[in-house]
Assembly symmetry: C2
């Protein structure tokens, strides 16, 4: 068995995957295995008892949204009675930022990738914008009202618009955004504007209610994270393309549920390797400090898994105003990641590094040998249910996960 060859195969597939955003539909209609009393969540598997505040808050919000509970107390009682199932988004080809909680009625993006003949599908929920939002664990009435508007007004118009457009090439969108100061995870200003300009005329044409169309276009355009969710679904598709290569030590998922950080490895099947998540370092919104911060949470580390996010931070010097540090730190973040990756991305290039491809395909062996863990840019959630975002910053997964995974790899392959 040649691990280097296996890794080259895995990363080659990750790079050549070309995910297209093709539609929007209700989770129950499009996500395989989705059902009414199932909630999907970010990160590796976790039971209610061990869930963090923001994850619990998002679950309460989702149960209220679905009408399965009328109050916070009813929601927690329903969960305590064992009436609700929890499974990772990742077990359903889906991803979601922060809490990532996705319920059966929620509209989700559908991404299709057809590299190897059969079309693979991946999914993500819709981005809610800023302020009080479910993904950060808020569940106040205005949070649910916005989710209802997104489901009832925005989603059908996006579905019509995407149908009329024949889809959006998300790999091309990310490539362009990296030349416009985005890194694709915490900074998606340019990508969201490209997304909005592609959708806006089609949304306008799709509706005979011009006020509704304008509201949707304004919501997309004013939210610098509009495109994060479909980009995450695209990264999930790229990472999954690299999964399942016998003998490969390439990491194909990194995800956090707010309690644990978990990874999956190409040559290690469906196993998760987990350890307690760290708390990000970063900049806090006025009135909040690191004491308020929940440990690292969300599936959005799928961006770093696919070679963007903190891995492409050299392309996004202005991000330091948001996550702390200097433009030099941003450059160094990318340079360091070349040490622990297998390849350089042919489509995601970084002008600041003379158009060098972004570092892609985390090699478990290199992480353990060098003791250098992947860098991650992230939002920071309040540790209590119902509050929301308190800042943004930088974090790394615990090295123990990679050691654990490498030991398991050695056992499995008899090395």
């Amino acid at each position: 068995m040649n691990i280097n060859e296996a890794n080259a195969t895995a990363v080659g597939r990750m790079i050549s995957a070309r995910p297209m955003l093709t539609g929007v539909g209700a989770a129950r209609d499009v996500i395989p295995g989705m059902r009414d009393r199932l909630l999907l969540h970010a990160g590796p598997p976790i039971e209610w008892q061990r869930m963090s505040g923001p994850m619990r808050g998002a679950i309460i919000g989702a149960l209220l949204f679905e009408g399965l509970a009328a109050t916070e107390q009813e929601a927690t009682e329903l969960v305590a009675a064992g009436e609700i199932d929890f499974e990772p988004c990742h077990h359903h080809q889906a991803v979601g930022p922060m809490a990532g909680v996705t319920s059966a009625s929620m509209a989700v993006y559908v991404v299709e990738t057809a590299e190897t003949g059969a079309v693979q599908r991946s999914f993500s929920n819709l981005n809610e914008g800023y302020g009080k939002v479910l993904r950060y664990g808020a569940f106040a009435p205005e949070v649910l009202d916005k989710l209802r508007w997104m489901n009832e007004v925005m989603a059908p118009l996006l579905a019509s618009a995407l149908n009329a457009l024949g889809g959006i090439d998300l790999r091309a969108l990310v490539a362009e955004a990296l030349h416009m100061g985005d890194e694709g995870h915490n900074r998606n200003k340019a990508g969201s504007l490209i997304f909005t300009k592609l959708l806006a005329p089609a949304v306008t044409e799709a509706s005979d209610d011009r006020a509704a169309a304008a509201e949707v276009v304004r919501f997309l355009g004013d939210n610098a994270l509009s495109v994060l969710n479909p980009v995450m679904a695209a990264c999930k598709a790229m990472a999954d393309a690299a999964h399942g290569v016998e003998g490969s030590t390439v990491v194909t998922a990194m995800a956090r549920n707010g309690t644990d950080f978990g990874i999956r490895v190409s040559g290690m099947g469906d196993d998760w390797f987990t350890a307690p998540a760290a708390t990000p370092d970063g900049l806090y919104f006025s009135g909040f400090t690191s004491d308020d911060a929940n440990p690292d949470i969300g599936d959005s580390t799928i961006t770093e898994t696919a070679g963007i996010g903190a891995f492409a931070m050299a392309a996004a010097p202005a991000i330091v105003t948001f996550v702390s540090g200097t433009p030099r730190d941003a450059l160094n973040a990318t340079l360091e990641m070349y040490d622990i990756t297998v390849g350089e991305h042919q489509h995601f290039t970084i002008p600041q590094l003379d158009f060098r491809g972004s570092p892609v395909g985390i090699d478990l062996r290199k992480v353990v040998e060098l003791g250098v863990t992947p860098r991650v840019n992230t939002g920071i959630a309040h540790r209590e249910a119902g509050v929301g975002q308190v800042g943004a910053g930088l974090v790394r997964p615990p090295v123990a996960i990679f050691e654990q995974a490498l030991n398991a790899f050695a056992d499995r392959y008899g090395i």
Copy 2:
């Protein structure tokens, strides 16, 4: 007389001016001194006999557009008969990219700047996008059809949308675009997307014809130079704010008519100092070479005059794919411009230089002392009327202009 103090005053005014895009109207209705048989053009004054091919082509197109001539031959006969007046855009608080030809019926952007109490107005025509366009000297039927669509369909919707929005803060737009890989002259991808996302919902709301609204939004969004023209009008306003300071050697206009490069100086009234324009170095579209290139043309050097464009090229490393060179060259372009400028911009900052302000306020004395002329990013027009754009590249004004201006300055102030 203290020249340094005068220059500090001039540049201070340039930096603190805050131009707002407030409207769209017909040139004859909004531009002071505009009249039916007057054509405005880019650059310093020039008579028909000395005009370059692309300038003549644009003039023929404008006369056809206005219905003053029915054929190319009629148009040139009309001009030969002395029936048409030509004056620089700059003599009417206006600017236009490339040929800059603006006629009485054409819709123009209105920019208002109210720093010193009285509102100052500046103007620019609307950007036509790519392909065969008047500003590059093309005047085929499809060029005129597009201009008519812009005038009849797009302009009224933009006027309504700007009215509903209460204007767009162009200084804030440029500041944000510089953090997204634009330099504001040849690369306006991000700025045009911001522009589109601000206008799109208001355009959608402004029209009961959703197909027309969608077409306008698509046209704005697909044209990475949509915002160039209003940004130029904003730069004109900023540069004019610095004009007329007694004893100042700050350059307040740089403009080319395709034959001559001309500058104006803050402390030198309305005088132009001119010399033959150079031909840009750059990258040519397929099928064209430098033999096809017209000398430098257009008012768009107002961007460099105001501290963006090539002066802010460090912010736009990806531009080198379009104008030639490497990202390091882009960085060096900005660094060199600090040597010949008076100040650093408080609003236009460059992430790649640790958020240092862009070099702003060209000092005539420094240009002559160091022999370093301002850098300019530019499009390249075919030298024959009716063809269009053949490439994009880099150019500098002849040093003789600055020597001429400095001599005149010394004469005037008895130095």
